[in-house]
Amino acid sequence: MVNMELNETNIYKALEQVMDPEIPVLNVLDLGMITAVEVAGEAVHVKMIPTFAACPAVELIRRNIRTVLEETLQTVVTVEIDREAHWTSNRMTDSAKEKLKNFGIAPPQISNGEAYSEILLQTPCAHCGSKNTYLRSPFGSTLCRAIHYCRDCGQVFEHFKPLE
């Protein structure tokens, strides 16, 4: 493998390959989990934040970031949890929301702090797009998902819930 130049652009490019183990169509940049990257001499230093405090995949993601970056950039990589930064679902990029939708999960609405009543009704159905829906449970198959029901297509769908 050709040694890539150590710069931020190449680090970000490499990070695009690190996928979320629970939603494999999204990478860590899509999710807004990376808060800083830094080149210090021959080493790379990355800071990340978990989405939910109790996310069981954090350690795995952290390891994956290190492995992928070390393989791609052929250098020493450290990954640290950023204790200052705050993850909200507004950190997700627009392209991430598009990918989520195509994956069959309704993306989070923009959270303005009071969004919780909005999600009870009218979260657009991930299958047919109808807004004739209601929240069946704020909890789903992973901590970040809720379960809704669509009255128009008669199907249950998952929703990445907004987190402020």
Partner: protein, 254 residues
């Protein structure tokens, strides 16, 4: 009493409450009355145990405490600071739901206040946990409201669950003596009495909309003692089960 010790007192109480209720919630896994509820209590269990871990971690990183796993699983019963509410067995679903309602509103209020804490490491965590707990209170409010409108038996069960849970829930706000005074003076948080008042206002609004009668604060005996290490008979068997696997090899890497 140093500020460090006072902070450890408060954080241990908060974390132990979350850990023990998290364990109780997990006992619904596979037994929930409908699938969504099975998933809900399992998810809340995961959240609570994660919140406990984050609080133990602050003690380790900022206050000279030990490893979170060891601290969570290897203490003696009298060194736990959880309140009696969280120790109770799950009972029937009405009891579990009412406990969840009273507990999560108390946590929501505590974290709202701790966002402004003078103890800096708590600010970002409080902000994060507050956002997550909104889904717990959303869940609790929906069930309390619906079950109180679901017929006579359902309503009577919710009222009797409230009567049983309320004195226990007051134990969430057990006065913290010297430690509490110091934390209030240092503007770490506004104190238990202030939190209890905010909590009463918040739950009253929802309970009265559901036509439930909140027992008088002064008509019941609050279940105090947990914060001082005096526990009900239910805690020790829970601790034995919870730490069973960990204790077989405390040095194992998971």
């Amino acid at each position: 009493m140093t500020k460090n010790n006072a902070l450890i007192y408060m954080l241990t109480a908060m974390a132990d409450d979350a850990l023990i209720l998290g364990h109780r919630n997990s006992e619904w896994t596979g037994l929930g009355p409908v699938m969504e509820e099975d998933i809900a209590f399992s998810s809340m269990a995961q959240d609570k145990i994660g919140h406990a871990w984050a609080l133990y971690r602050i003690q380790q990183e900022d206050l000279g405490g030990g490893d979170p796993d060891q601290f969570a699983f290897l203490r003696n019963e009298k060194d736990y600071r959880c309140c009696h509410l969280v120790e109770q067995p799950n009972g029937e679903y009405d009891f579990s739901l009412m406990r969840h309602f009273l507990f999560d509103h108390a946590e929501a209020i505590r974290y709202e206040q701790l966002q402004q804490s003078s103890f800096a490491p708590l600010q970002p965590l409080a902000r994060k946990l507050k956002g997550e707990i909104k889904y717990h209170t959303l869940h609790a409010n929906a069930w309390i409201t619906q079950l109180c409108r679901a017929g006579e038996e359902s309503y009577a069960r919710m009222q009797s669950a409230l009567n049983a849970c309320f004195p226990l829930a007051l134990g969430l706000f057990e006065p913290g003596g010297e430690a509490e005074d110091l934390l209030v003076a240092e503007k770490v948080y506004p104190g238990e009495k202030a939190l209890q008042q905010l909590w009463m206002d918040r739950i009253y609004a929802i309970l009265s909309a559901a036509a439930l009668n909140l027992p008088g604060e002064h008509a019941v005996q609050p279940a105090y003692g947990g914060r001082k290490g005096c526990h009900t008979v239910h805690l020790q068997p829970l601790l034995e089960e919870m730490g069973n696997v960990f204790r077989t090899d405390p040095a194992a890497t998971w």
